[in-house]
């Protein structure tokens, strides 16, 4: 099998394995470099050109099918967040925050119905009011912490983490929740919506998720530093 035929077979196997075109190009480039080094090595050992060609690449590099399988397995092992950082840290936070708002609002409706029978009890009214205003903060803070967990687990770069946290904080600033307690039956008012552009009066909705992001960032950084300061065995 000569070099070009081996590389053609490798390319074919990579295509079959379904790895991306960019990855195929990268791997083939490095294998080509490696083959060049093998040729230099053979020249140094004064082996015949035939020895270099006949099944030599299969012997040294491994069969193309095995390399393609290793490439596929290797990519599969990599976390989604690292393979698709733009999707994970830039695109997904917005729809996920919207879904979290919807989920929270549904839970809120269920809880308020449960509270209905105790509407005259003081602390129940306070709790219900807190739950309603929590819509502007709880989903955004929860998503910020989720992003911190994903970024830390996947060891994504700080930049992606910061970008996602800022996006969540800014979108969170768009949420408008107004609530007026009923003074007489049927006069209570609850309005939920989005306001463009973010109003400065809603700055806590931006600041609180950012504080959560900074807090989790500092905590994880400290934990990593502490781990790094333990005696090295390397």
């Amino acid at each position: 099998m000569d070099t070009q035929r081996w590389l053609d077979e490798m390319e074919c196997q990579l295509r079959i394995s379904g790895v991306s075109a960019t990855y195929q190009t990268r791997l083939l480039e490095e294998l080509r470099d490696h083959i060049e080094d093998l040729s230099c090595e053979e020249r140094m050992h004064a082996m015949s050109a035939e020895a270099v060609k006949s099944q030599y690449l299969d012997t040294r590099l491994g069969p193309p099918q095995e390399i393609a399988e290793a490439a596929k397995a290797s990519i599969r092992q990599t976390q989604f967040a690292l393979r698709h950082p733009i999707v994970t840290f830039v695109v997904l936070p917005i729809p996920v925050l919207v879904l979290m708002w919807v989920a929270y609002a549904l839970l809120l409706i269920v809880s308020l119905n449960l509270f209905q029978s105790y509407k005259d009890v003081g602390w129940v009214v306070t709790a219900a009011s807190g739950l309603i205003h929590g819509l502007a903060y709880v989903p955004a803070v929860a998503l910020t912490l989720l992003i911190a967990w994903i970024a830390s687990r996947s060891r994504a770069r700080w930049g992606w983490w910061i970008a996602a946290s800022v996006i969540v904080a800014c979108v969170s600033g768009l949420m408008i929740v107004t609530f007026a307690m009923p003074t007489t039956p049927g006069t209570g008012r609850l309005a939920i919506g989005l306001g463009f552009p973010p109003d400065l009066s809603r700055w806590p909705q931006i600041a609180i998720p950012l504080v959560a992001a900074i807090g989790s960032f500092a905590l994880i950084r400290r934990r990593r530093q502490r781990a790094a300061s333990t005696p090295s065995v390397a």
Partner: protein, 119 residues
């Protein structure tokens, strides 16, 4: 010529440890790294040299390595380096490996309460 098979056991945590350890000593390109592994292990570990690249790429995606195309001995090569996250990972992997070695050693020596026999 005998076909060299990629040893699946080799692809189970050990290559990661070896790659990180050897690259922590000095930056290397793929071929150089393969030679370093063969030399450091006295040729004990046999593997298809092409399989080193998917591992290097995964470690880079994980942030343990960085790579750059550089001119090495008059040729353009992709040179890999261990990042600070990679050094941390090396430390973790090495500790884990040492714990496994110690545990296996304990068993081979007869265990804490076993007999010191090895067939």
């Amino acid at each position: 010529m005998r076909r060299k098979r990629t040893n699946p056991d080799f692809l189970n945590g050990v290559p990661e440890l070896l790659i990180l350890k050897l690259l922590a000593r000095r930056p290397m390109h793929g071929y150089d790294l393969v030679q370093a592994i063969v030399s450091a292990t006295g040729g004990t570990l046999e593997f298809g040299e092409g399989c080193i690249y998917p591992l290097l790429h995964r470690l880079q995606l994980d942030g343990a390595l960085t790579s750059e195309r550089e001119n090495v001995a008059g040729r353009s090569r992709v040179v890999y380096r261990v990042s600070s996250a990679g050094r941390q990972r090396l430390q973790d992997s090495a500790s884990r490996w040492q714990a496994i070695v110690d545990a296996v050693q304990l068993v081979l020596q007869g265990g804490m309460h076993g007999h010191a026999t090895l067939a």
